[in-house]
């Protein structure tokens, strides 16, 4: 209960500060733009994140299946390498393949967000204690039941850590999609830098920053809802 209340309190204060800034500072000049771009921004983020979570967890589960056991180490190496690739590079490569606009932006974000989720799902499921799986087999559960009732719930802590990282990367990279024609709050920031207009720059930067912080807390709260109390390592 405590956590949810503090989250609500936090979000409320964030909103109040945001709207106060719009009302009382020169940021207000750009109110229309801010709200429009914020909307665009959120659509992109939510779309790419949702796809990334669905595909990421699915791929992660598939990769963790015993059939692929021998390739497991190689796969891990590949992932460890791919998460080091700078997100700007990923966007740039997306643009070179898909051109400019909304689609390459979402695809680029999707790929950048995908990798930590696949990796953590893979690691998390492999880390589930073999004795629990043996107990489940011994009870007569089939592989699917074991996956759904035992493996995934017990891997959720690690999976959500991956999701949290992925969402952070997504939000951090989202402003950059402006550079490849994707729109969003980046427009205010980059234009503000180029044209040397401080209020515009700040409008973009502050809104982006606040969105990022809010999203981070949101994912955290969601994780506490989904992860069974018996699995999370910290006490309530």
């Amino acid at each position: 209960m405590n956590r949810y209340l503090s989250f609500l309190f936090f979000s409320l204060s964030l909103f109040i500060v945001f709207f106060a800034l719009l009302e009382y500072t020169s940021m207000g000049e750009y109110e229309e733009d801010i709200l429009y771009l914020l909307n665009e921004h959120i659509v992109m983020v939510v779309t790419s994140c949702s796809f990334a979570i669905v595909f990421g967890i699915s791929f992660g589960v598939i990769l963790s299946r015993p059939i692929l056991n021998k390739q497991a180490e190689n796969i891990m190496q590949l992932f460890n390498m791919s998460v080091t690739i700078p997100t700007l590079a990923i966007l740039a490569l997306s643009m070179s393949f898909l051109g400019i606009g909304f689609l390459p932006a979402v695809v680029g974000l999707f790929i950048a967000t995908l990798l930590p989720i696949i990796k953590n799902t893979f690691v998390g499921i492999n880390a589930v204690s073999p004795s629990i799986i043996e107990a489940a087999q011994g009870m007569g559960m089939n592989s699917f039941q074991i996956l759904i009732k035992v493996e995934i719930p017990n891997a959720l802590y690690v999976i959500f850590a991956g999701i949290k990282t992925a969402v952070a990367i997504n939000i951090g990279t989202a402003p950059l999609v402006f550079l490849i024609g994707g729109g969003g709050l980046g427009e205010l920031i980059f234009s503000g830098i180029d044209l040397d207009i401080m209020p515009m720059l700040l409008a973009g930067a502050i809104t982006t920053g606040m969105t990022a912080i809010f999203a981070d807390k949101l994912v955290y709260i969601l994780s506490t809802i989904f992860i069974s109390r018996g699995v999370s390592p910290t006490e309530d």
């Binding site: 080091t84 070179s96 939000i171 550079l179 980059f190 830098i193 920053g209």
Partner: protein, 215 residues
């Protein structure tokens, strides 16, 4: 291939920008190691401060890099350093704080209390325990934080090209503005390779610094 040709034709500029990139990240992260490790050690002695410090640094790292740059520009414009390498280094420094501080803090706290007790029993002073036992045992975890910060910030520094900091990101930005796909790809690949190599080198150093007994 065009890309290969570009590399060959402009290798001097690419090399220059690479070194520029490396130096920028090196100084920022290096400074963050000094401050971060000290801060991490300090807050193990002052638990109340610890929560606050960790909270603030974690919020900093949540802010997208371009937004952080954006926030710095007005402030640093006052000393006429709004654009250039200074905001980039400061932002990278701030980003590196969380991984390094948190890893230092966690590593030292996770040391088996029995070891400290044994050391005290042998007559070691607190500072001796810190330098001879606690820090050596924490190095693997601290290095993991340094590694994470470095790889992350090689990417951040690429974005810093947009605020005039230089580095390999300039190829990407130029590539986009000039619609020069080759240059764009060269920039993207170079930064990626730099990140991957840096990761491996730091992993190697991390393993070297981990005493045999811990592996």
């Amino acid at each position: 291939m065009e890309v290969l040709n570009f590399y060959i034709a402009n290798y001097d500029e690419i090399l220059y920008k690479t070194i520029e990139h490396i130096l920028l990240v090196f100084f920022a992260v290096g400074f963050a190691i000094v401050v971060g490790v000290s801060l991490g050690i300090y807050i193990t002695q002052h638990k109340k401060l610890a929560d606050y410090v960790l909270y603030v640094t974690s919020i900093i790292i949540t802010i997208p890099s371009i937004a952080l740059f954006g926030l710095m520009i007005p402030i640093l414009s006052l000393i006429n350093q709004g654009i250039g390498y200074l905001p980039a280094i400061i932002a990278v420094f701030l980003y590196s704080l969380l991984p390094i501080v948190r890893n230092t803090y966690t590593a030292i706290l996770n040391i088996d209390p029995a070891l400290k007790e044994a050391a005290l029993g042998m007559g070691m002073k607190k500072s001796e325990i810190l330098f001879k036992i606690e820090i050596p045992l924490s190095i693997p975890i601290i290095m993991a934080g340094v590694r994470y910060a470095t790889v992350l910030n090689i990417g951040v520094m690429a974005i810093a090209a947009y605020i005039g900091a230089g580095g390999l990101g300039t190829f990407i930005s130029a590539g986009i503005t000039q619609s020069n796909e080759t240059q764009l790809i060269v920039g993207a690949i170079s930064v990626s390779i730099l990140a991957i190599i840096a990761d491996y080198i730091l992993l190697f150093i991390q393993n070297m610094m981990t005493s045999k007994g811990l592996k």
